[in-house]
Amino acid sequence: MAKYLIRRALWMIPVILAIALVTFLLMHAAPGGPWDRDPTRKQLDASTLAKLEEQFGLDKPLWRQFTSYIFGDVDEEGNWEWGAIGGNLGPSYRQRGRTVQDILFGINDNTTFWHSKFGYSLRLALLSFTFAIVVGIPSGIISALKQNTWIDYLSAFIANIGVSVPNFVIGIFLIIIVSVWLGWAPVVPRDWGSINVWIMPALVLGFYTTAFTARLMRSSMLEVMRQDYVRTARAKGLHETLVVDRHMLRNALIPVITMLGPSLAGLLTGSFIVETMFGFPGIGREYVTAISNRDYSMIMGTTLVYGVLISVSNLMVDIMYSWVDPRIKLD
């Protein structure tokens, strides 16, 4: 096990480097740059542009920009400055004066990690994730056990709403019902310190994942229920709950786990809609606007963060496989 973990951890290095390289090449190949302004605005003059390019190191050759971003470079005074491997994700092109790590993880004197943008997003993602598991898995199991009954159809119907309607619309309807009609929570939360204002954003963010979890759980339960060994177990006269427990759940969980692992990373970084609707101070905005702004450091920084999250969650998924189904060997 330890050997496997070490090997997988070492594998993350080339994976992350590959992600960084691909992203770096793609973003420089994309037309336009960080200071392109739409033609209805005053355009930057050539010398200001040149000055900015120099300040941000865009005048260096591409390979040098890449290595200095990832590993580091010598600054003007001749001192070594670490790059991304030293936790320095570079200066933001758009939010000038700030570094990417400060924007994503920065806190001020009287707040904790949980109050950084990343911390906010992490909290919301965990809440949505928990919701997806606590609601999705049991309802998937129930609809599988009660296949083709009203309860199965109802959960299919609700899951269907979750995927067919854009989650912006789910949000609007939730707002109208919860805030306007019932008056349980304000439309726009004033204070993210109280727990009840988190519920609506978490629902909006997590609805799709929950629906997916429920449906996937149902179908893989049905699949497992038909397997010979389950039939054998039943035939042997084992108690039904024991059959469900020992023989079905474990195997049925595999696709759900596969899907849920990366979806945690997706929930963490995909809160853009929730941010525009509720004014939630997460990192989703940075992910979306970085690319359209061509904010190169921000694109690299957010992608690296996401890449690490994905690699780690996929590693966790692989470990969980052998946990729920001991026949799967890690090697």
């Binding site: 994309a30 037309p31 909290r123 204070d191 474990r250 969980l253 101070p281």
Partner: protein, 585 residues
């Protein structure tokens, strides 16, 4: 059983983690949920004067990227800056230049030397002295090429600024810098040079220009001259602006608290030289207009801007229609033809395409009434505007006639016309309407070509890849026709860069207008220049923007101004008040 146990344990663990994560992370200082229109009183502020009334405004532009006077340029950024700082001059709600930090100013006979006299005993929001030296620093910082601000160019007329900013050789740059240092000088009242920020006698700022700038009074009101403190920037670094405590300004408010992306609160600055503000301000940054509209109806905001899609609903509602506030804005939109590309190099084709567009129908159907149909460039109500323009208005017959008279003769002979645009839901509707209108009136098939916004910006920068026509928009930086005519239509300015527009006669008028000292003569000259520009038909001018807001009935004292930034009365925020007797219980 074990698998299930493991599962339940896991579920419990997850639940606990996420609840802990939410629960334990209560901020150390929890602002209390406030009643509509009411705020909490603050005792730890730099100044002990407080009000318990809070005006809650939503900025539909979203959270600003940077709040640094010499580097900002977007609306959201400026909406913050003008609350906290004030320039040498200011604008009143009619667009007149009025005294700001300077109580008076004078220029020499050819407008190449301006002298500003700063008010005596002027103070920052922390009580420290504000003298002319502070403005000297702000203007130098704006010119300094290292600052690389988007509005750095706006003070280019200062002697030496161009050499410093655009110089080819190191020598030229050093020379330019030297000249600028001598052209922007803070003086003591006795005429000697003011050396210190603590010198209460340093009340004179003298600026020397390389050419006459009769409109500089307007430029001096812009955010680029806002007197940020040098020691804060030196000490805190380039990201000084992210911390509310570092915004020590001289405007009607000071920033009390800033929670990025969530909320910013401003409180009245007791050291402001003018009338003291009556309310606290609170900015929120929700960009989804449907959500904002719900929140407004739920009494969570006092002022919001109105989206075109909601307008009909508002006007049909007895309550909301009473709260609706609409007035002329300060931007012009139109479709500019690329006269360096076929077929728009033929003026007859441009005229035909312009005359095929029904401006009234466009404003009514596409903009839902949030626009004033127009055939001119300078918006109505701003200095230099003309009322009776009729050229290239909607006239299908004349449009077809013009196309027939063009060198192409008919719609069939026109080369393919591709309408490339930056794609958003609104832009798509606009361009689909446009293509339909051209097809209907002229029988021309225009190919619609939506592209990603930044790709589009990149395309338009190079005259080689620039589209054949595009949506143009321009907004006033200051209420002087100079910002409309010279900054856009002069050879070498925006329109020249984009579509190669150049007209020697126009340049001549502009040169005279920019340097003339008599304001009436200047406006006359700019109007003549605009007249010549319209004659060339470089663009189909479509409409002037409107400002449209919902304002709760308890908000009083709003002074609307065409150039208002994101909320009505933003240029005279001190007169805004809340009538607590009207607040809902």
């Amino acid at each position: 059983m074990r698998a299930k146990k493991r599962c339940t344990q896991l579920l419990a663990l997850l639940l606990i983690i996420s609840i802990l994560a939410v629960g334990c992370a209560k901020p150390t200082e929890t602002p209390e949920t406030t009643e509509p229109g009411a705020g909490t009183s603050e005792t730890s502020s730099p100044v002990s004067v407080t009000t318990d009334k809070t005006l809650r405004i939503n900025l539909n532009s979203g959270y600003p990227d940077i709040i640094d006077p010499q580097k900002s340029s977007f609306m959201a950024e400026i909406a913050h800056l003008i609350m906290m700082y004030q320039g040498l001059t200011a604008f009143d709600s009619e667009g007149n230049v009025i005294p700001g930090a300077a109580e008076r100013w004078e220029m020499n006979d050819d407008a190449t030397e301006w002298t500003f006299y700063i008010r005596e005993n002027l103070k920052y929001s922390d009580g420290s002295l504000l003298n002319a030296k502070r403005f000297e620093y702000a203007i130098l910082r704006n010119i300094n090429p290292e600052t690389a601000g988007e509005y750095g160019y706006i003070t280019d007329e200062i002697n030496g600024a161009e050499a410093w900013r655009y110089g080819e050789t190191d020598e030229e740059i050093a020379q330019g810098q030297e000249t600028v240092m001598q052209s922007v000088v803070a003086l003591r009242t006795d005429g000697t040079v003011c050396e210190s920020y603590d010198d209460p006698e340093g009340l004179v700022l003298k600026l020397t220009f390389s050419r006459p700038v009769p409109y500089f009074g307007s430029v001096a009101a812009l955010w680029v001259t806002f007197p940020v403190k040098e020691e804060i920037i030196t000490e805190k670094g380039e990201d000084w602006w992210i911390d509310a405590a570092n915004h020590i300004g001289n405007g009607p408010f000071y920033m009390a608290e800033m929670e990025p992306q969530v909320r910013t609160t401003f409180k009245p600055n007791a050291y402001y030289h003018g009338e003291m503000a009556k309310v606290n301000l609170e900015y929120s940054y929700i960009t989804e207009s449907a959500v904002v509209f719900q929140a407004y109806q739920n009494d969570e905001f006092d002022i919001i801007s109105v989206a075109a899609e909601d307008l009909a609903t508002i006007l049909n509602d007895d309550v909301l229609s009473e709260e609706y506030l609409q007035y002329a804005g300060s931007c012009t939109f139109g479709f500019i033809f690329n006269s360096s590309k076929e077929p728009f190099d033929d003026p007859k084709v441009r005229q035909a395409f312009a005359m095929a567009l029904d401006r009234e129908a466009y404003s009514r159907d596409v903009l839902s009434g949030l626009g004033i149909a127009s055939l001119t460039w300078i918006p109505a109500g701003l200095p230099g505007s003309v009322e009776d323009e009729t050229r290239w208005g909607y006239d299908p017959e004349a449009a077809r006639q013009a196309l027939a008279e063009s060198s192409y003769g008919s719609a069939e002979n026109l080369p393919t016309i591709v309408d490339t645009y930056s794609d958003t839901a609104r832009n798509r509707l606009r361009h689909e309407w446009l293509a339909a209108a051209w097809k209907e009136v002229l029988g021309v098939d225009v190919e619609l070509n939506p592209v990603e916004p930044t790709t589009y910006s990149a395309l338009t920068k190079d005259i080689e890849t620039a589209p054949q026509l595009f949506l143009l928009g321009w907004c006033a930086d200051y209420p002087d026709p100079q910002t409309w005519i010279s900054a856009y239509w002069k050879t070498g300015a925006q329109a020249w860069n984009m579509v190669g527009y150049s007209n020697a006669e126009v340049d001549e008028k502009i040169a005279m207008a920019d340097t003339s000292l008599d304001q009436d003569v200047r406006i006359q000259l700019y109007q003549e220049a605009q007249d010549l520009i319209i004659a060339d038909c470089p663009a189909a001018f479509m409409y002037h923007t409107t400002q449209a807001f919902l304002v709760k009935p308890w908000v009083t004292g709003i002074e609307p101004f065409a150039m208002d930034v994101l909320w009505p009365g933003s240029y005279e925020p001190t007169s805004v008040d809340i009538d607590t007797s009207l607040l809902p219980q």
